[in-house]
Each structure stands twice: as C-alpha cells, then as structure tokens.
Subunit: 793 residues, 2 copies
C-alpha cells in the first residue's frame, strides 16, 4: 500500500521561506553544538582553542538536528494558523534541541533573565548544559515548555494524550523516537486514538522520528519495509505521512507539506468538515532523517552522520586530540553563525520573526506549566456519604462502594469544568466504583455493540484500556496540564508502573524547587482489590509492596494512607483531592467489613493520622500491658477480634489499641513532614511495652519506619508471601495476621499471663486446626468467624 | 487488503472428524463447567441438586470454551505432523480449559495419580478448582504443560519467544487474549519476530483470541475494522489467518484449515522451501469467537454468551436462586456427557485417541518442565580474568569490562550447546560487556545496512530491542525451558520490570514446592551503569531501589550481591551462573575504580559474603572504637578514603573496616538461609560500637535488614534522591556518602576525639566548600580527589 500522495502543486514554502527556515534551523543546530561543547567563545569570534571547550564534554547529538528541524516547522504552522500547540520530546536526549529553540524564541530568557539574548547570554546558555550545577542532557523540568522528561523512555505519547483530553483547542505535537517506540508502553500508546473525542478533546500529532539507531543498535521500525511501516500505522488507526531524505532544501518542502496536510486534517476532523463518519483516522508524520544530521560525515575515518556513532558526542575534543578542535570549529562554522546572529549575539530579526510570540511560543505555552491553569475542584461534602456508625463495628460496609458515591458526586460537580477524570485498567466496576456511571460514561471512540455498558464518545471515565501504563501516563499528562484525577487499580498490579511513578515523583521533586513552576494537583492512587481480598485470584494478585517503593522517594512528595473503614476513606480521599504536588497512595478494600468510626470521629482520626482507639482499649489508667496497633482494613478487623478475645478471656490485661491511617506518622519528624516527635510516639506506643502491630503490607516496612524509635519491643505481622486460593480468613491465618495468632503473639510475649495464658493459647491452636479442617471440607470460613461482631467493652 | 483466502477445496476434516473433534471439545467444556461449579455428582448421574454445587463458586468461564476449542485443534495438528508443540495460555483465567484438557489427555493423572481417569477422579478434579487448598483459576505452576501463569497479563508472547530461541524443533502455540493484547509488554512483543532465526530457533504460532470483552469493557482489537486489524498484524510482520464465527461445525472446519495452513507455512519457512528470502512473515491465527461460547444465552433475562457478563461465573447458583440449579444442569447436559464418558467416567476411547500420546501431549511436553532438560553450563575458569592486585588499591579497573571477558568465554564455551544467552536493552556495549562480540553477534533478522555492528541472523546476544519487558520475558521463557542466561541493564530502569520479577519470583516459590517441577537456572541480573555512575545522565537515571523490591520476596528465592571490585564480581557471577532456582541481583559498575582484593582473597571474601578487611583496619587488638562498613563499589571507595583520612589525622582511633558483598548476610539466620547468627554478627559489628555504614542504595534497606540485631548504633549513608548533572564526586557529596562527610560522621559520634576531631571536622568542611567551588568553575572533580590512592597502613 502506498503512502497517500501529497499534492506537490500546493506550494507551501516560497524559496525565500525555505532559505529563512533553513537559516533558523542552522541557528538551532549551532546552539545545540555550542551547548554540547563550548565553555567560551560562543560566537566563534576568534579561532577556536581547546580552552574554549568544556573540560568534560557530555551530551547527545544524534536526535538533536532532527528535533530542531521539527521545531522550526511547527513554529511555522503555529504562526500560520495561530495554533495553541506545544511540543513533547520523546527521544531520550533531545535537551540541546529544545533548550536551543526555546532560547531562540525567547522563552528561556523570559524564565531565566540572566541568560540574555546576546553573547554573554549565549555563553551562559552553552556553559550550563551538562555542567555541574547546570541542566541535564535531556529535556527536563528546567526546560520551559516541557511536561515530559526525556530519560526513561516510553511515555511521551501517553503524556500527549493526557494533555489533550478536555483541551479542545490544543494540539500536542509529540515527537516519538524510534528507539522509544520499541518500549511496551509506547507500543500500546498508539491505540490511545480510540479514546480521543474530536470535539471535546484536543488533538495529538505524533511525529515518529526514524533516525535509525539507538545507542549502538539499529531500530526495528527503521528496518522493516516501507509498506509494513505504513500498514502498521494504518492498523493502529492513523494516517501516516512520510517525510524522508537528507537534502535540507527538499526536506523543508516535504516537511512543510506534511505538517500542513496533517494540521489541516486535524482542524477538519475537529470541525466535523472532514466528511468522515465514525472514529477519525488522525494524521501522523513519519520523519526519516539521518541520525546526527548535518554533523561530521566522519571522525578519524569512521562514519558518523547517519550512524549510531553520532548518538552522543561525535567528536572527542581534548588535549589528546588537538586536530579535533579544528574539526569542531569547521563543523560549527558550517552553520555560518555570522549570517544568523548579529554582532551582539542576538538572532537576526528576519529569523526571529519566524517564531511565534507570547503564549503561542511552544516554550511559553501555559499548558506546559499546568499549575498556572489549575483550579480547585468543586468538592461536595463527603460527609453526605457517611456510614451511620452508631457503635463501632455495629454495621457492615463496603468501603470503596461508599467512596464510589462520593466520586460520582465529585464527577458531577465538576462536569462543566472538564477538569476531573477517573482512570483505570477496566477495574472501576470490579473495584466497586460503578456509581460514577450514574452521571457519566466511559469515553470510547471505537465501534459499539449491543450489550456494551456505559460507553459513549464523551465521558469522564477512561477505564477501557487494559494497560496500567496508559492509565498512569494519561493521568500524568492530565495533571501536568493543570487538571485533577484519580487512578484506581488492583493493588498488586500497580507495580507495573513502579518505574513511571518513580519518574513522576522525581519530576515533582525538581519542579517544586523551581520557583517558576507552579504546583499541580496530586497524583492520587486508589489501590482497591488489595492483597487481602484476592482469595479467589490467589498468589499472583498479592503484592502490597507499592507502599515500600513509594516511601523511598522524597518525603516532601509522598503520602500513604490506610483508612480502616469507609468514613475514614471518605475523609482521606477528600483531603487527597484537595492537595497539591504530592503522590497520594490510598489502599482500601471493597469487601463488606465492619465499620468502626462515625464520621466525626473519622475526620478527627484522619486529621491526626494516628490515634488510640479508647473505645477498644481498657488501659484508661494510661498504663497498658501491651499495645496492639494496626494499619489497613483487614488487619484492623483481625486486631480488634484479637482484642475482644483477650478482653474476654484475660480481662485483667490492660490493652491499648492504636490505629494508623497515615503511615508517615510513624517516621521521625526529622524525616517526614507528617512524622511524629519521639515524645508523641512514646506517649502512644510507650517506651518499652510490647507492641503487636498488625499491618496490611510487608512487615519490614513498619520496622523501617520506626527504626529510630526507642521502643524496640515491636512485633509486626503482615503479608509474607503465603497463601493462594483459599478463604479470606485462611489467607490471614497463613500469613499469621489473624486474630488467633495475634492473641498467641501477645501470650508468647507476656509470660506473666501464666497458665491462664497458656490455656488460652492451647484453645486457640485447637481452634486454628478446627478451622483448617472446616475450610478444607466446606470451602468457606466457619460461621463464627464470618459472623463475629465487636461488642463494645 | 483482504485476508489471504484459504483454499476451501482442501478438505482437512472429514465430517466424522468434525463430529469427533466437536465431541472432544464438548468434553473439555463439560469438564470446565464442572470444575467451576461442582462439588459432587460429576457425571450428572443423578439430577443436580444445590448440595452438588460448591458453597462458593468462583472461576472464569468467558475465555474457557475458546481455549478448549484451540486445544483440540492443536492436538489434531500435533498428531498429524508429530509436532513438538506446547501451549501458552495468555488470557488471565484460562485455568478450567487447560486443566480440563491436560486431564483429558492423561497428563494431569500422570503427575497427580490420585486424580484418576474415572468418576472418583473427576470429582477430585472438579472439587480442587478454586477451592481452599486447591488450584487457582488461572493456569498456574500446578498445571502440567505450563511455563506461564495467567494472572498479571502481558507476557505470554515474550515467554513464547524465549522458549523458542535455540529450540529448532519446537513450535510454541501462544494464545493471546485480546485484553492482554492491550498491555504495553504484549503490544511490543509482536515485534519479537524480528529476532527469530528460522533455522536455529523454533517457531511461535500466536493465536489471537478475539472474544471481544475484558472484565466489563470491550477490547480494542475487537472493535477496530477488519481491514485495520489485518493491516496491524501485517505491519507487525505477521501473516494473519482469520477464523470467525460461532457455529461450531463451520468453525471446526475453518479452524482446522487455518491451523493446517499456519503449520505448513512454519514448516516451509523452517525448511527453506517457502520460496521467500529475507525475514519470513510468520503465520498467525486470529480466532474471533463469542466470549463464553456455548454457555447460557441469557441468565435472568440478561444476555450472557457473547457478552462481558460471561467473564466470570455466568450463573449464580446458591440457595437464593433455586431455579439456577436447573439452568446449570441444562447447560451441563447440553454437552451430553453420557456420549463422552463411559459409565466409569473415563473418556471414550474414540475421543481419547484424538489426543497425542506420551511427550507429545502438550501437558507432558518436556520443555514445559525445563529443569528436566537443564544441563550445567561449561564454566571456564573465571580466575583467568583476575585483575592482578598486588596491593589493595594499587591498580585501577573497570569491573564490568573485566566481567565482559569472562562472559565472552562462557559464551564461547557453550556455543555448541545453544543454551546460554545474554539479554539487554541495547546496553551491552554501554555496560562495557562488548567483549562478547569477539565470539558472537547480536541476533537480528530485519534488514541490515552498512555501518551496523555485530548484527547477524544468529548470535547469542539479544540486545537489539529497547524494551526491558522483552528482555525479561524472553529470558524467563528461555530459563523456564531449561537454559541459562543473564540480563544486563541500567540499574534505574530495571524498575520497569518490577512486576515481572515479582511474578517470576512467585513462580519460583510455588514450583519449588511441587516435587515434580525440577529446578531451573537462576535468573541473573547484572545491574551495571548504576546510580553512582549517572553523573552525566542525572536524576532520572538514579534509582537503586530494585534491591528493596527484590528483598520482599521469599528468602529462599532471592539473592543480592554488591561486589566491591572486579575480582569479586568474577567470583560472584561464576557462583550465580552455577546456581539454580534463584533470582540473583548483582550490582556492578563500569567506571575505572581502585581494585582491592587479589583473586584468592576475593574468592574467600565472596564465599563468606562479608568480611573484616584487616589490611584496612587498625583494630588488630580486636577492640575497635568504630566500625566502618560498606557495600557497593563506590561506597567502598569513599569509605576507604575516609578511613585513610582518619588513620592519618587521628592515628590513635581504632577502626575496623567491614565490607559486605552478600546483602543477605545482614539478615538473621532465621530469616534468610544466608543470614548470620547474632554471635557472628556481633563479632564483626560489635554489640555497641558505632557503625558507620556506607551503602550503595537507599539507607533504609540496611536498617531493615539489621533490625533484629543488638547493636543499635548504626548510621547508614546511601542514596537519598539528591543530585543530578554534576561530577561523580559531587554526586556523592550531595548524598553524603563521600569520604569527608563520612569522617565527619565518625567525629560527630565520638566526642572523645575532642578538639583534634573538631579541628579535622572544620578542615573537611572547608574542603567540601573548596571542592564545590572548584567543580562549579572547572566542571570536574579536584585532581586530589581523582588521584587519591589508598596507602596500605
């Protein structure tokens, strides 16, 4: 199948315009090489000497000239149609290109006024690149106009779509590297076009940059047949336009035509004038240009331009290679800087006018500093959804189902603002958040059939793609451009995006240190269908370790919550959705469990983040014999059941019950802003009494968080990778977080309980055996366990 | 473009064969429904009663009949061509299908003789499914014939290719679910066909099962146009054959033709008789059949077959729905069990003979129990590559470059066995393992061009795809079928496969508990280009948290090593490659660093896993004032530099230097097989002296591992998410693992050092400032730091 032929009679670029655009491109290339190499002599006003070169030259050239080429062409089309467009640089190391271009258009100097539009500014621009204390070799948070860091690869297209949702006037130009295109997340992201509404959303214009090589290997997409590549993209639902070659003048004409064609098609699709019905086949551009284009043809006899040898620094310039100084100078002079910059180092006016101005400059597009556009959500009163808890444990509730009603109301309250969305990998209903479908739908542009549920071309829920990577990437793009959202996932499979979370947390950390970057809305995870509720899915669905992962990131950024019941979950989620610039991890269950706190108590408890549950404790004299602590819904249930056994059989034992909602409270105040002082910690946990801590996740996390505390008598139970297909209670038994084992833990640690304790222990061991037999025979838990109820002391 | 037309004159199935195959399929469907529902009355010899149904019915029906359909057709083709073929079940919950089929063919009873081929056996087969103590709803390690667990989705195709590499006689039939196909890893795995050699590797036959729905959403691939789907797969390099419909008889004929066509093409490609040159376009099958095919058309007036409502249990059978018992019975009787099984419950002989026998049965294929086929690697003597360390620190070395020579030799020594491969995401050369290309190449079947390096149609290195997911999936498939390998990656980006590692570790844990599953070779990670060697890549490339993640898994399975120099790295890697059924994580650097141990000392040190470095210590009287410990190459360098400062300036201070290679040594012996006793730990670390521990990763990991130890005076330095583009030493300073901050740590903790200590501290603080100024000015570290050398005490 042939690529569609572009009408060559349509002369888009006059020869004069070709000349100017090529000059602009040369200027960008010159600035890119300058950034990689030069410490001084930025305009080459004197012959280049080794002293002018940085002592340690690092950076990446290969992708850079192609991205400079794209940038100048996007500038043209923005001006022509007054487009609201910004640029996502997918290839890893496009820093010199984007930094150079946002400098040329003036955005860099607007943000960093010390880097002026003159020779002194050029010198600073060059020096800061890949230099200690300076900026990195990728596009980074420091780069104006960027919402996407090159570094780890694979997320550019998901970010682009996330930015485009609910931004109908926006076109996100997304340059995808052909190396990056081999990653899993990018490979599936092409299908995001099945979710983009042409009227209520913006557009994404992918530009696949086929420069042929990765670090030292060719790329797959550059080495399949032209017809295959065309089929691949048509199969992904795109209309590809090819721009292929290496002659600059020809390529400018081809690229201008392709960009024109693509943008006109986008505008036609959006206006409904394209004449097509059904899901549009959005245009995309495939740019095949040499890696390291316009760089040295060869270095020391080895081919460079057009090969993987141009990936990083093409010419090694140091004292051992004096002849390379001359080659570098020749290369830089090949761009004829004297024809591009005036005597003072400012870009010539006739070139400067090629760039858009003000907010239309891609480096100054407000969407790329999303906090500037961020509005608070309209938050309905979560207390309207309160579970009516008259006595603790007196009523059962399904926590995420209760939350679902609140999320429905939030969705509705913000519907006219188009700034709140729910993301998930087809688990919204499984996680019991289906109430949201009372007020909205799943956004879905592909074919519909009878019996489909809640599908519509426009809706606030994006949960129809089975890819945690897409959910995360879309949500990140949505948040980074100033909106709000929530990602609901099975707890175990959120590990799929460990690395994406890590990169986002790093982005938040760095942007929080940049005064011009405004805070964005927090990334909120709701991890439902958690480790203790996978009894029929089993071992593969059990992994509570995302919390461990999250806590390694900067304390300023991360928050982890384990609400014990529905009212606490409501209060926590209200807080999370109002917060800024955090990653909030909320773990909550969907199965019916006893509810503990009335709404007022829940609010107080969640505000404190940790608390002694007096109603469950009997140490009112303030001198407990043992502290029994818990975090997480299932561990809380079992702990309270254990307490009730202890209070019935060993009433003289003074027990203090502590529940932890906000995990960061356990850390020292020196380590986390939420951390408790040692005084407060000791007043809750005592300095030396035994603490039995029943935890939702891997037990070591609690040890780690409390490492600096004085009380070393801490015994943590949690998930220890045991159990698969079994009953809910048996899973707890296998991991020893169940009530019986907890009581035994207490007895084992308090020899003063003597024979009474020993007797109870034996009874409970018998009970465990009895239960095991019952389960194996009946396939369900014993009724007395299912029906257990807390009786207020 | 049209799907290729299959010649309908080719009558592959006689009407009699259609009848028999359909009967076999009915038997498999019957067994599947029985597994999901029945506790008793397996042959429906009496009318079904509620008592015969499991008290808690869980399981997944939707994908099952389609997979049963595929299985019977693969059986036919195996018999016809005497194929060596096995089955990978990608869709999440295909358990009832595969278990039913391996039972029908006899493989299940061979492995589990208590589940006999009669009514009693059927009852056991039914009861065990999704029942406490039984088997899970996915295909799992317990399932004979499986190397792939349904659960987390997305890895089936990568596993299939991993199994096919170097297995020229094998065809891996890989059923890919259309939900699974939306995940990133699966989406990019289609391109694995650019790496499969038709002569020296086996083949993969993907069967995309388009059953249209996920949990409650349609699937994307089922809702794009037929032409798009065809283009997509042709664009991915496959030749798709479509089998679409719902009438069983027609579908049997279509499927038989498609399978025939595909297998014949595979055999032609492999024999070179296909007439094509260049990269083959391997065949694949797209099976579009209704979800929950042959299940109830509707339940309680709601459509079921062909909708997402059939995903899990179609009919809720319990005391509240008495009429559903009858509907279930009708459904089961629709398969006419009395025509399929004899009076005793054995499958009729005329059906039994449809299945292959012996090792040709997919449930008994030896490749699926890879440990049975595993041979030890020929291991050349790693000592041949020893770095000649005459005095500690007297010579510089690049650890991974030294290892590269050893890996080259291993590759060569096993080349004729075709059982060892190196995997990586285009980082083999960057990680300095390029020596391997002296003896082999990168396997690459796509187009080659001038200036490519080390590409060939056959080679032991698979590092030309930029996807950690593929590397991991391929390697897992390769190991699971009884071979050996190593995965080299940047340390930060191995987090991309956190979740895959987790699933593999779970597989290893469960298979180690199944006596019939043989141990396989360990999964060896070499994490090179680590956190401390990303000074020019910066913040995005810094994440040492994979260790934290790994250590949460079962202690029997995981090992983490931090060799301090090249000789230790050689010794550790030799050990890892000889080991079985572990996940070994080895972190090693590539930059030139001082070498500490001669080979003999390195072997002893690595065998111990931890040791006091007497040559660096001055507490020979056995009474140190402070213990200075380290793990990792860079922390070791800085710690020794700190020790040398202390010994020069405060010679009266008695210092013990400890190096940890095997991180698990720090744990208690009760928690890890490598763990030290408290006695041993205390004898190394003392019971109460201050320990300054300089660690490669996040400091909390050391706190966590040593939590139970008596000595609480432990101060850990490590990576704390600081620093980006800067010099190597400045990065250490920013995270306070540098020599100066370590000395200050010691002084701060030992007030007895008095004014002498205070004076040194002030000097070092001045030095830190001086260094910072130097770096900002010169862009590199001060020469005295670069040139520092350990002087033996």
């Amino acid at each position: 199948m042939e690529a569609e032929i572009i009408d060559n009679d349509l002369e888009i670029l006059s020869p004069e315009m070709v000349r100017k655009m090529n000059a602009y491109w040369r200027a960008a290339n010159y600035l890119s090489v300058g950034q990689i190499y030069l410490y001084d002599n930025p305009l080459l006003k004197e012959p280049l000497k080794l002293d002018h070169v940085k002592p340690l030259v690092v950076g990446h050239w290969g992708t850079t000239p192609g991205q400079n080429f794209i940038y100048v062409h996007l500038n043209r089309i923005i001006k022509k149609y007054d487009l609201d467009m910004f640029y996502i640089s997918g290839p890893g190391h496009g820093g010199p290109a984007i930094v150079g271009n946002v400098y040329l258009e003036g955005s860099w100097s607007d943000i960093y006024p010390n880097v002026t539009q003159d020779e002194a500014g050029l010198k600073k621009l060059f020096k800061q690149f890949s230099f200690p204390g300076g900026i990195s070799s990728h596009v980074a948070p420091t780069t104006p106009g960027s919402i996407h860091e090159g570094g780890e690869l694979g997320y550019s297209l998901s970010h682009a779509f996330g930015a485009a949702f609910d931004n109908p006037g926006l076109i996100v130009a997304c340059v995808v590297g052909d190396g990056e295109a081999e990653t899993g997340p990018l490979a599936t992201a092409w299908h995001s076009n099945k979710f983009l509404n042409p009227v209520t959303d913006g557009a994404v214009l992918p530009i696949l940059h086929l420069n042929g090589y990765k670090i030292s290997n060719p790329t797959i997409l550059a080495r399949i047949e032209h017809e295959e590549l065309d089929q691949f993209y048509r199969g992904c639902g795109w209309t590809p336009y090819f721009v292929e070659g290496d002659d600059p003048e020809t390529m400018h004409i081809l690229m201008a035509e392709a960009v024109e064609k693509a943008v006109v098609e986008i505008l036609e699709i959006q206006s409904g004038s394209s004449g097509t019905t059904g899901r549009p086949r959005w245009p995309m551009i495939i740019l095949r240009s040499p890696k390291g284009w316009t760089g040295p043809k060869e270095v020391d006899g080895v081919p460079n331009e057009g090969t993987f040898n141009s990936h990083q620094v093409p010419i090694l310039v140091d004292a051992d290679h004096p002849q390379h100084v001359q080659q570098l100078e020749n290369w830089m002079r090949s761009y004829k800087p004297e024809e591009l910059f005036d005597e003072n180092g400012a870009l010539l006016a006739e070139l400067k006018e090629l760039a858009p101005t003000g907010d239309r400059r891609m480096g100054s597009n407000p969407h790329t500093n999303g906090g500037m556009l961020l509005h608070n959500l309209h938050m309905p009163d979560f207390r309207n959804h309160a579970v009516d808890v008259v006595v603790p444990g007196g009523i059962m509730g399904q926590d995420t189902m209760v939350l679902g009603n609140f999320i429905r109301d939030i969705t509705k309250a913000n519907q006219s603002e188009h700034n709140f969305r729910v993301f998930g990998p087809d688990e919204t209903i499984s996680n019991l958040l289906g109430a949201v479908f009372e007020v909205t739908n799943r956004q879905w542009e592909a074919r519909q059939e009878t019996n489909d549920q809640f599908l519509a071309p426009r809706g606030e829920v994006l949960d129809s793609m089975l890819s945690e990577h897409q959910c995360q990437g879309w949500l990140e793009g949505y948040l980074l451009t100033g909106r709000h959202g929530i990602f609901n996932s099975y707890e175990a499979f959120i590990r799929i995006v460990d690395s994406m979370f890590s990169q986002h947390a790093k982005w938040l950390k760095v942007t929080s240190e940049l005064p011009w970057r405004r805070d964005i809305a927090s990334l909120n995870y709701l991890l439902a269908s958690h480790v203790w509720q996978q009894d029929h899915n089993g071992f593969t669905h059990q992994d509570p370790g995302f919390m461990d992962h999250v806590i390694n990131k900067k304390a300023d950024i991360v928050r982890v919550y384990l609400p014990p019941d529905a009212n606490c979950l409501l209060s926590i989620m209200d807080h999370c959705l109002r917060s800024r610039h955090y990653v909030n991890v909320v773990v909550a269950g969907k199965h019916a469990l006893p509810q503990w706190l009335d709404m007022q108590s829940a609010i107080i408890h969640c505000t404190e983040g940790i608390g002694i549950w007096q109603w469950a404790s009997n140490d009112q004299d303030g001198k407990p014999d043992v502290v029994m602590a818990c975090a997480g819904d299932t561990p809380t249930l079992e702990l309270l059941a254990a307490v009730s056994i202890l209070r019935e059989h060993l009433p003289e034992l003074k027990i203090r019950v502590v529940n932890v909602v906000d995990l960061m409270k356990l850390q020292s105040e020196s380590e986390h802003p939420h951390g408790m002082s040692d005084l407060d910690y000791d007043s809750i946990f005592t300095k030396n009494k035994h603490i039995i801590f029943n935890f939702h996740g891997y037990p070591w996390l609690i040890h780690r968080l409390t490492y600096r505390r004085a009380n070393r008598n801490l015994h943590v139970r949690g998930y220890k990778e045991e159990g698969t297909i079994t009953t809910p209670f048996d899973l707890r038994v296998q991991n020893e977080i169940d009530r019986f084992n907890l009581v035994i833990d207490v007895i084992d640690r308090l020899p003063e309980l003597g024979s009474k304790g020993a007797y109870l222990k034996q009874q409970l061991k018998d009970k465990l055996i009895e239960h095991k037999i019952y389960v194996n025979q009946h396939g369900k838990d014993m009724p007395e366990i299912l029906n257990w109820k807390w009786i207020a002391g």
